[in-house]
């Protein structure tokens, strides 16, 4: 085997530390003028790809991919500053891509760019759909290990640990494969200033949806987006009996 040719898709989303607001029309979360950054799960994916290389697993190259508005290039540059080698940006200002559309797009990228490992975040924090990785595995017919908390690769053999209810599960599969990342996998690095500067010179290819033969038409319709009701204050009870009668009153028991 000649080495890993990794694809890491990344998405630009509202910064995780910002409190989302629903837009006036009640159709979506307001994104205008709101700070955006890389989907935190995608940071884990990049970090993992870079760590594989640092752990002397033979890595041929790390390709970072994003489809979305022009600003997504900042996200790609951030990924390159963290250690990815090159980027592809499918510039798409208008169409909101759905997981299936993205998965189809990624399938073509995998084929055109001859990838043998795709590391994705288990979800992106804007839609929380948590589907893209699985759909991509389905479309490619590749094995998948989702929500990885540990990844080791020896030769063709990938070992992925995932935390599941009641313990840890260890999966083994052969390349090529799909891995999705979970929070405990690693702690993403900050890009250093010299690496940020270097990233500006790394190759970033710009493409459009027309360069790929995919049907990205919308299949879902958002009916309404609303703020959650404000949380109501709790009440105090004096003792266990008080608690039981309160619970009964609320119909909880």
């Amino acid at each position: 085997m000649s080495g890993l040719r990794i694809l890491v898709p990344v998405k630009r989303v509202i910064d995780y530390a910002i409190k989302p607001r629903v837009n006036k029309a009640g159709t979506a979360v307001e994104t205008n003028g709101v700070k955006h950054s890389m989907n935190p799960f995608d940071e884990l994916s990049i970090e993992q790809a870079v760590r594989l290389r640092e752990a002397k697993v033979p890595v041929e190259d790390i390709l970072v991919f994003s489809a979305g508005p022009t600003k997504s290039q900042e996200t790609i540059r951030t990924a390159m500053a963290m250690g990815a080698d090159r980027g592809i940006h499918v510039v798409e200002e208008k169409i909101e891509l759905e997981p299936l559309g993205v998965a189809k797009l990624l399938k073509q990228v995998v084929e055109k760019e001859n990838r043998n490992l795709v590391i994705l975040g288990k979800q992106s924090i804007d839609d929380d759909a948590g589907q893209t990785g699985q759909m991509l595995a389905g479309l490619l017919g590749w094995p998948q290990a989702t929500q990885a908390s540990k990844v080791t690769i020896e030769g063709e053999q990938c070992t992925v640990t995932r935390e599941v209810d009641g313990g840890v599960e260890t999966l083994k599969a052969k390349l090529p494969m799909i891995i999705t990342t979970d929070l405990r996998l690693n702690e993403p690095r900050y890009a250093s200033l010299p690496n940020i500067m270097k990233a500006k010179k790394k190759p970033l290819e710009k493409k459009t949806l027309a360069d790929y033969d995919v049907d990205v038409s919308k299949r879902m319709k958002t009916v309404k987006v609303i703020e959650p009701p404000p949380r109501q204050g709790g009440g105090k009870v004096d003792d266990v009996d008080g608690m039981i009668s309160k619970l009964k009153e609320l119909g909880a028991i």
């Binding site: 890009a191 200033l193 940020i196 959650p228």
Partner: protein, 441 residues
């Protein structure tokens, strides 16, 4: 904790009847440290947003710097700086983080491990550090190492640069700056400390005051007289600049208790018979004043930027509080008496920001005069102090409580008004150099 800390609202997007929980803190990809509780938020909203990333005038590289620095600073919330301030305890945590990722070398030559960006980028860096809530405390813990070594870059020999710049950029050595003296103040040409040549050494004698970080810095950049005033052609001659080990066996370093920024020490230094190797002299003997002047304008821009950050941080807190606090059945921010001064402060801060960024850009383009740097520093410091004072007032009694941080900002906002150059000396400069009026002193 009350008031501005409230939990991230768990926004639920309902699509039909299905709940897609958008519980934002659940994705925090880093381990949450004790001082960074998920229930606390970084401010958000327009000018209440940390950071105002939408500043449309930022260049791409400034934007990159702002983004990356804010990310590092998000590890250090207001509580972190408050605790240091309360304890008067110096911390090198942020310095170490910035050093590790190469930020200390932002304006230093690539040859020695720097990144050779401009003052335009360093300005954004210092503003952002301060604006994170770290204020002058955070900024001063690195300030000297960002730009203070410019005289070395410009005038030191290859051997010296290699010896001095590399460890500073790596964060292995830190430097402090000794110019101000107790008996001469702003009248730098009258400095009384002396250096006398003795074989391959100089013997230093005298005193300095306000030397910041001298408690822990390994190195000092120090200006002293090598030829007495009455023996030089011009008063600007005869001063010499050294960069040397701050040898605590020869220099008595005493901390000065002060109004704010308690965790970053400022000191008085006494020395009598301090042996400094001749190879630690920068450039030619007697040329020190010229070298110190180099980079002075840039330093003013940076201090102005630090003030600016503090002003924006204060304004952010004031606006958030004014929106949340309800008295007499209405949000206090609904009263124009509260709202308008904050609006005015934003305008003043923005105006100062534009002036400072212009000064930075001009400096990077090789423009040497100091009117914009001085004016920008003045405007920023005044606007920041006013914003901080207003932030305290908007908070009412809570403004006086440490847990709301604005009193700390207010105390710290006095500093950039006083140093490194006072308001009066800036007026003198503008009056003389821009308006062509006679020198008043």
């Amino acid at each position: 904790m009350r008031g501005i800390y409230h939990s991230f609202a768990n926004l639920v997007v309902r699509v039909g009847q299905r709940n897609i929980g958008l519980q934002r803190q659940a994705w925090r990809p880093f381990p949450i440290t004790a001082s960074l509780q998920p229930t606390r938020r970084h401010a958000h909203g327009q000018a209440t947003e940390y950071l105002q990333m939408s500043d449309p005038d930022l260049t791409e590289s400034q934007r990159t710097v702002r983004e990356a620095i804010s990310k590092i600073c998000s590890k250090y919330p207001d509580e972190y700086w408050m605790e240091l301030d309360n304890a008067g305890k110096f911390s090198l945590d942020l310095h170490a983080d910035l050093a590790r990722d190469g930020w200390l070398g932002i304006c230093l030559p690539q040859k020695y491990g720097g990144s050779e960006l401009g003052i335009s980028e360093a300005t954004v860096m210092m503003q952002t550090i301060s604006e994170s809530g770290g204020g002058m405390t955070a900024a001063s813990s690195v300030h000297m190492n960002i730009f203070g070594l410019e005289p070395i870059v410009k005038f030191a020999t290859e051997e010296q640069k290699e010896r001095w710049l590399v460890p500073v950029i790596q964060g292995k050595e830190r430097s402090c700056f000794g110019v101000t003296e107790p008996n001469t103040g702003l009248d730098t040409l009258k400095l009384q400390s002396t250096a006398t040549r003795d074989g391959d050494h100089y013997i230093l004698k005298g005193q300095k005051i306000w030397t910041s970080t001298a408690q822990t810095a390994e190195k000092i950049l120090i200006l002293v007289r090598t030829t007495p005033l009455d023996k030089v052609e011009k008063p600007t001659h005869g001063l010499s600049l050294f960069y040397t080990d701050l040898d605590r066996s020869a220099v008595q370093v005493t901390e000065i208790l002060k109004m704010g920024r308690a965790s970053v020490d400022s000191n008085s230094l006494f020395f009598d018979g301090w042996k400094v190797p001749a190879e630690d002299l920068i450039g030619e003997e007697g040329n020190g004043f010229k070298m110190i002047m180099q980079g002075m304008n840039a330093e003013r821009v940076l201090v102005g930027a630090e003030a600016l950050g503090l002003g924006f941080a204060a304004l952010r807190r004031a606006a958030i509080y004014a929106k949340e606090r309800v008295v007499f059945g209405r949000q206090i921010g609904k009263n124009q008496g509260i709202q308008h001064p904050l609006a005015e402060s934003w305008m003043k801060l923005e105006a100062a920001r534009l002036m400072l960024y212009q000064a930075a850009r001009l400096y990077d383009e090789g423009y040497a005069a100091g009117e914009f740097a001085n004016a920008g520093k003045y405007l920023a410091a005044e606007a920041a102090f006013e914003a901080a004072e207003r932030a305290v007032m908007v908070h009412g009694g809570m403004g006086y409580a440490k847990e709301y941080h604005v009193e700390r900002y207010c105390r710290e906002a006095m500093l950039p008004r006083l140093a490194p150059v006072s308001r009066e000396m800036i007026f003198n400069y503008i009056g003389e150099r821009v308006l062509g009026l006679p020198r008043s002193y």
